[in-house]
Each structure stands twice: as structure tokens, then as C-alpha cells.
């Protein structure tokens, strides 16, 4: 099998730049990195077809070796469509993230941090409801002022 060196070098550069971009914290750059990596994979598939040949349209006088291998191109077509859909979705979700948080960065998982800092309950983080509407908790807090976290802090 003959291999096109230019295609391989292009593929290598696409992968290298893609991996570099994915390691960034900015979401737009991560997305650009993913685009480059998918394109790198497509170039790789193209180069698996061997040297370029004739278009695979049947002709009586053409020897079978002269044709291009059509299968890799069919695969690339499929994978281009898939990566197109995924990129569109990713763009949408990055835009949503920008709308919600006004930032274009990978955010930390709050729950992860909380589990890391056991004891687990953080009254402030966990208060889902505004304090004034949850009379029940307030009433209970008055009955027993020593909630576990408060007690723990007191002991310290």
C-alpha cells in the first residue's frame, strides 16, 4: 500500500493542535480542538484508501487496480455528517452556558468539592428555598438550636 506523506503530516498536525486546544479551559477552544481532531480522523481514513486512482465508475477497459477505493470515502462522508451534528450541538450548549453563566470556561463540579470536604452538609449550599418561606425549618431550628453542623463547629 502506498501512503501519501502530505496527508499523514497534515493529519499529525491536526491531531497535535486539536489535543492542545482540548486541554484549554475555554469551551470555544475545546470545541475547535474537537473539530480539528475529527478532521484529522477523516484525513486518516482518506489515507487508508491508498494512492489516488480513477473514480470508481465501472468501465470495461479499466483494470481493477486503477480505481480508487470508494469505501473510505463513504466512511468519511458518514463521519463528517456525524461530527457536523455534534459540533452544532456543542455550539448550542456553549452558547447556553454563556447565557446562563456569562462565562466560557469549564466549570467545577460543586457536588464533587462538597463530597471532598466531608462532613457533607453545608447549610448555605443546601438551602434550596429562601429562608423566609420555609417556616418549618425555622421553627425546628428554634426548638433545637444545635444542628449537627452547628454542633460540630461549636466543638471545634
Amino acid at each position: 500500500m502506498t501512503v501519501n506523506l502530505t496527508l499523514l503530516v497534515v493529519m499529525g498536525v491536526l491531531f497535535a493542535v486539536g489535543v492542545y486546544l482540548i486541554l484549554e479551559r475555554s469551551l470555544t477552544r475545546v470545541m475547535l480542538g474537537l473539530i480539528l481532531i475529527t478532521n484529522g480522523a477523516n484525513v486518516l481514513i482518506l489515507s487508508t484508501g491508498g494512492a489516488a486512482g480513477l473514480a470508481p465508475l465501472f468501465g470495461k477497459d479499466i483494470p481493477p487496480d486503477a480505481y480508487n477505493d470508494p469505501l473510505p470515502q463513504a466512511l468519511i462522508l458518514t463521519s463528517i455528517v456525524i461530527s457536523f451534528a455534534v459540533t452544532a450541538f456543542l455550539l448550542g450548549i456553549i452558547y447556553r452556558s454563556w447565557i446562563l453563566g456569562r462565562q466560557d470556561e469549564v466549570q467545577d463540579d460543586i457536588e464533587d468539592r462538597r463530597v471532598a470536604n466531608q462532613p457533607s452538609f453545608d447549610a448555605e449550599d443546601d438551602a434550596e428555598m429562601p429562608a423566609e418561606t420555609t417556616e418549618f425549618i425555622k421553627a425546628e431550628a428554634e426548638e433545637s438550636p444545635g444542628t449537627p453542623t452547628a454542633r460540630a463547629k461549636g466543638e471545634e
Binding site: 474537537l34 463521519s79 455534534v86 456543542l90 456553549i94 446562563l100 452538609f121 443546601d126 434550596e128 417556616e135
Partner: protein, 542 residues
């Protein structure tokens, strides 16, 4: 004409259902009817496929009239058809659950109208991945189900879901690219991507090249199956999604990865090449996963970690590559899909009944809702592997197969399996003690929904306390059905399916054994795809 010629319908029917559901996007009732009936029809079809695979062995069909190694093959064997039936049963239960949640309302987490078509596409992708006999078509199947899962994961587009969704999408795309690159490499090395054809040609390759292709596929599927250390993404992304979505992801998506891993290991790269490596990975997956589960205070996150941990059992059986080990893996996958999904559905019910899944805020659910307690208790004990449940039978098979192998690593793995089982019991007992057994007053910070409800009824009637919250999930509703019959009913049905796996363990284990034998032998699969006699050259030395 064989039974496999109707196999493509298992993919086509859900896609058709998705199209219809999309058409009826403004008529929720019609949409629900269409999707549920399509899925029921698919299930009947798949039951027929399972029956025919059981009685007459492996069958294949090549699509589009192309001769076998060139066209896309679809293969119905015991393993793939069993996976199809179990996965569609679970999908159907979850769909009914989701429909119930949508009807009952009162939940900003409730599925929106886009849920139904997307869900059907997910089912189609899963079926395609199970049925296909073509490596690139497997990639397409993965992408169908992943793209649907991206939408389902970020349903509603709230902050935590977007954050979790981005991690999930990026990790999935990278694993898919790794898979695609492996396919390209395999095609360059062998000139085919038909799995049966590959099984014959890969052996002829240089061992170094062969090992490289093998490891690339293992890493790609390892990310999808959440094998340690490639499992980091799962507990971060699963718990934030709506309850039915998490349940179906937990049941199906990682198992598709496990299925692909089993197929590659048995069909494409048979024999003892990386078995020790897989055993060590299995051990680490089990132990690290379950230690993570014990540290959690949120039930959904805890369940996500047990999911990772129990993937280790499946890899364990696969790594032994003995007939008993593989049969136990097949049985264990079927058991785990059912049980893990029912546990996540119960977690969704706990969320509705108690207002939260945070164990610090729950208590007294056993008294408030005994039915819910039973629904949790049975699959929890099943997962932990208490006799006589199916979890015990699957684990017993795995441990026996491990002892049969008798190498030091296998014994360490057996010990690790037992410890993981014990620690799973501990994690489940913690949920039981805290959420169900103690009184609500003992909870560190009881949730308002939990304490505001009367002990006997499942309806929430306290209007002032809960309905007046401006941002609360039940705002504006004075009477609220906390445990709608459809949701409880579908969960109950799935729990009963889990129990049925125990009751019918005999025939089921026989089927798993038959599946394992045919997978280890390889010739039935290759013969079915390429024609009789083709597989004789590539026989697998046991």
C-alpha cells in the same frame, strides 16, 4: 429466508416511532400512545428474534443485497438478542415511567415534548449497536445513541445540566474519535471492516500491529463502558439529568460499551492476550467505584458509583475467558441492566416523595410509604448480591469461574469481588438506614416536602407551606400526586422483572451458557455471516 431478515426492523421501528412522535409534538397524549405502542411492537419482534436464536443458533442478514464482506451485516445470536430483549424491556418501563411523570406534572424536571422522539432514537441506536456485524456500523450505532443522549442529558438546559453535559459530550466525542481512528487503522491493516471477515484476517497480522489495534479498541470501549481509570466522567454527568433519563443511561449506555468489549475480545481478538491486564482493570474498577459510592450523600450519585463498580464484575468474567466466566458475564449484564435501572427509577420516586435525594434531608420513608420501601429494598439487596436474588447467582458464577482458573491474580480478583459485594451492601444499608428507617425528625435537615405530608396519603395537601414557595418545584399546586400510579407501576414492573431473572435463572443461565459457547467457538458467527465453512480456518484454540 431466515428469522434474521426481520432483524433490521428492530432499528427501523423505533426510528419510525421517533418520526411519528416528532409529527405529534403538539399532542402529548397521541405522542405517548405512539411511542409506547411502537416500543411494545419492537419488544415483540425482539422476543421472536431471541426465540429463533435460542432454537436455531446464529443467523445473519446482509443489507442492501451486497455480498457478505462488502455489505453491512446484521447478526442475531444468543447474546445480541438477549441484550435486545432486556434493553427494550427496560426502555419500555422507563418510557411509561416518564410518561407518568409528564402527566402527573409538578416537576420542572418532567420530560418535555422533545423527550419522546429523542428517546426513540436512543433505543434505535442501542438496537443497532447490538445487532450490527460491521465495525463502522457499530460506530454509527454508538453515534446515534450518543447524539440522542446528549439531548436527553441536557434536557431543559439548566446550569448544572449544561455543565455536566459539556463534560459528557467532550469525553464521548473523544472516545468516538479514538474508535474511528482504530477503525481506520484496522481497515488500513486488513482491508475490511466486516467483523466476521476481520476475525479471519486479524490473526494473520504481525503480533505487534495486532496488539496495537486491540488496545486502541479496548481504550475506546473502556471509556464508553466506564472502566477504571476511564470512568471519571460518569458520576459527574449522570446524576444531574432527569430521573428517567439517568435510569435509562445507567441501564443501557455503559452496557453497550461492555457488549462491544465482549464482542471484540471474543470475536476479533480471541485467546489469552491481555487477560491479566483486564483482570487488574476489573479489580480496580470494582474497588475504586464502590469506595466512591460509600463517600456519597446523594442517592443518585451513590448509585452512579455503584454502576461503575459493577462494570468491574462484567470485565472480570470477560477477562477469565472461560465458558463459565463468559456465561456469568452475559447473565450479569442482563441482571445489572434491570436492577440498576429500577434503582434509579426508585431514586426518582424518592425525589418526588421526599423532595430530595440528599440522604441528610431524608428520613422515615418506610413509614411514609411502605410500597416505596419495598421497591427500594428488593433491587438494593439484588444489587448487593444477597441470596436468592439474581445478583447472587451472577456473582456466584463469576467467583466459581475465578476459582476454576486458579491463578494468583484470579484469586485476588475473587477476593475483590466478595469485598465489593459487601461494600455494596454497606452502601445500600446506609441509604436504607438514613432515608427509610429513621424518623423524619432524626434527619439532619428534613426536607419541607418530606415533613409537610401526612403519613398515610401519597397526595400532598399542604398548600400554604409548599405551594407558596415562589421558586419551589410544587408552586401553585395545592393538591399534588406525589406517587402517581403509572410511575409506581412501571417501577414495580421492572423490579418484578429483576425478580423474574431469579425465578427463571435456570433457563436463562442455560441461554447465557449457550451464548458463551457460541462466542468462544467463533465459527457459528463467522459461518452465519460469510456462509458455511468460512469459519473453519479461523478456529479459536480454547
Amino acid at each position: 429466508m431466515n428469522a434474521a431478515s426481520v432483524a433490521p426492523l428492530a432499528v427501523v421501528l423505533p426510528i419510525l416511532g421517533a418520526a411519528l412522535a416528532f409529527l405529534f409534538i403538539r399532542q402529548p397524549k397521541l405522542q405517548r400512545t405512539v411511542t409506547i405502542s411502537t416500543l411494545t411492537l419492537t419488544l415483540c419482534l425482539e422476543a421472536f428474534l431471541l426465540y429463533s436464536a435460542w432454537t436455531s443458533g446464529v443467523q445473519a442478514v446482509t443489507l442492501g443485497g451486497w455480498p457478505p464482506p462488502f455489505g453491512i451485516s446484521m447478526v442475531v445470536d444468543e447474546f445480541s438478542s438477549l441484550m435486545l430483549v432486556v434493553s427494550t424491556t427496560v426502555s419500555l418501563a422507563v418510557l411509561i415511567y416518564a410518561a407518568g411523570q409528564g402527566m402527573a406534572g409538578g416537576d420542572e424536571d418532567g420530560p418535555v415534548s422533545i423527550f419522546h422522539p429523542t428517546y426513540m432514537i436512543l433505543v434505535a441506536g442501542v438496537s443497532n449497536a447490538f445487532l450490527t456485524g460491521d465495525l463502522f456500523n457499530l460506530y454509527v450505532g454508538f453515534e446515534i445513541l450518543l447524539t440522542a443522549s446528549y439531548v436527553l442529558m441536557t434536557l431543559g438546559g439548566t446550569g448544572p445540566r449544561v455543565r455536566a453535559g459539556i463534560t459528557y459530550v467532550v469525553v464521548s466525542v473523544i472516545s468516538s474519535m479514538l474508535f474511528l481512528v482504530s477503525i481506520a487503522m484496522i481497515y488500513a491493516a486488513t482491508g475490511t471492516i466486516n467483523m466476521a471477515d476481520l476475525a479471519l484476517r486479524l490473526d494473520a497480522l504481525d503480533p505487534g500491529t495486532n496488539m496495537m489495534l486491540h488496545l486502541m479498541l479496548v481504550v475506546a470501549f473502556g471509556i464508553k463502558a466506564a472502566m477504571f481509570p476511564l470512568s471519571f466522567w460518569l458520576p459527574d454527568s449522570y446524576p444531574t439529568a432527569p430521573a428517567p433519563v439517568t435510569a435509562v443511561f445507567a441501564g443501557l449506555l455503559t452496557k453497550v460499551g461492555v457488549y462491544a468489549l465482549v464482542r471484540t475480545e471474543t470475536l476479533l481478538f480471541p485467546g489469552d492476550r491481555i487477560n491479566t491486564f483486564l483482570m487488574i482493570t476489573a479489580l480496580l474498577t470494582m474497588i475504586v467505584g464502590i469506595l466512591g459510592a460509600i463517600a456519597q450523600i446523594d442517592i443518585k450519585r451513590m448509585l452512579s458509583f455503584t454502576l461503575v463498580s459493577h462494570i468491574g464484575y462484567m470485565v472480570f468474567g470477560l477477562a477469565l475467558s472461560s465458558r463459565l466466566g463468559l456465561a456469568s458475564t452475559v447473565y450479569y449484564v442482563a441482571h445489572h441492566i434491570t436492577v440498576q435501572t429500577s434503582l434509579f427509577l426508585v431514586a426518582g420516586l424518592i425525589d418526588r416523595r421526599g423532595g430530595t435525594t440528599n440522604m441528610d434531608r431524608l428520613g422515615g420513608l418506610a413509614r411514609l410509604s411502605p410500597l416505596l420501601a419495598v421497591l427500594f429494598f428488593v433491587p438494593a439487596m439484588n444489587l448487593a448480591g444477597i441470596p436468592p436474588f439474581s445478583g447472587f447467582l451472577g456473582k456466584l458464577g463469576l467467583l466459581q469461574a475465578g476459582v476454576d482458573l486458579g491463578t494468583p491474580v484470579a484469586y485476588v480478583l475473587v477476593a475483590g469481588g466478595v469485598i465489593t459485594s459487601l461494600l455494596t451492601l454497606l452502601a445500600m444499608a446506609r441509604v436504607w438506614n438514613r432515608a427509610f428507617w429513621r424518623t423524619p425528625e432524626d434527619a439532619e435537615h428534613p426536607d419541607p416536602v418530606l415533613v409537610a405530608t401526612t403519613p398515610d396519603g401519597s397526595m400532598l395537601r399542604t398548600s400554604r407551606l409548599v405551594a407558596d414557595q415562589p421558586m419551589g418545584r410544587f408552586s401553585g399546586k395545592s393538591v399534588m400526586d406525589l406517587l402517581p400510579r403509572t410511575m409506581v407501576g412501571s417501577t414495580l414492573a421492572l423490579v418484578l422483572v429483576g425478580v423474574a431473572l431469579t425465578v427463571f435463572a435456570g433457563p436463562l443461565f442455560q441461554l447465557s451458557d449457550q451464548a458463551a459457547a457460541s462466542m468462544l467457538e467463533r465459527t457459528p458467527y463467522i459461518d452465519a455471516v460469510l456462509g458455511p465453512g468460512a469459519g473453519a480456518g479461523g478456529e479459536n484454540a480454547p
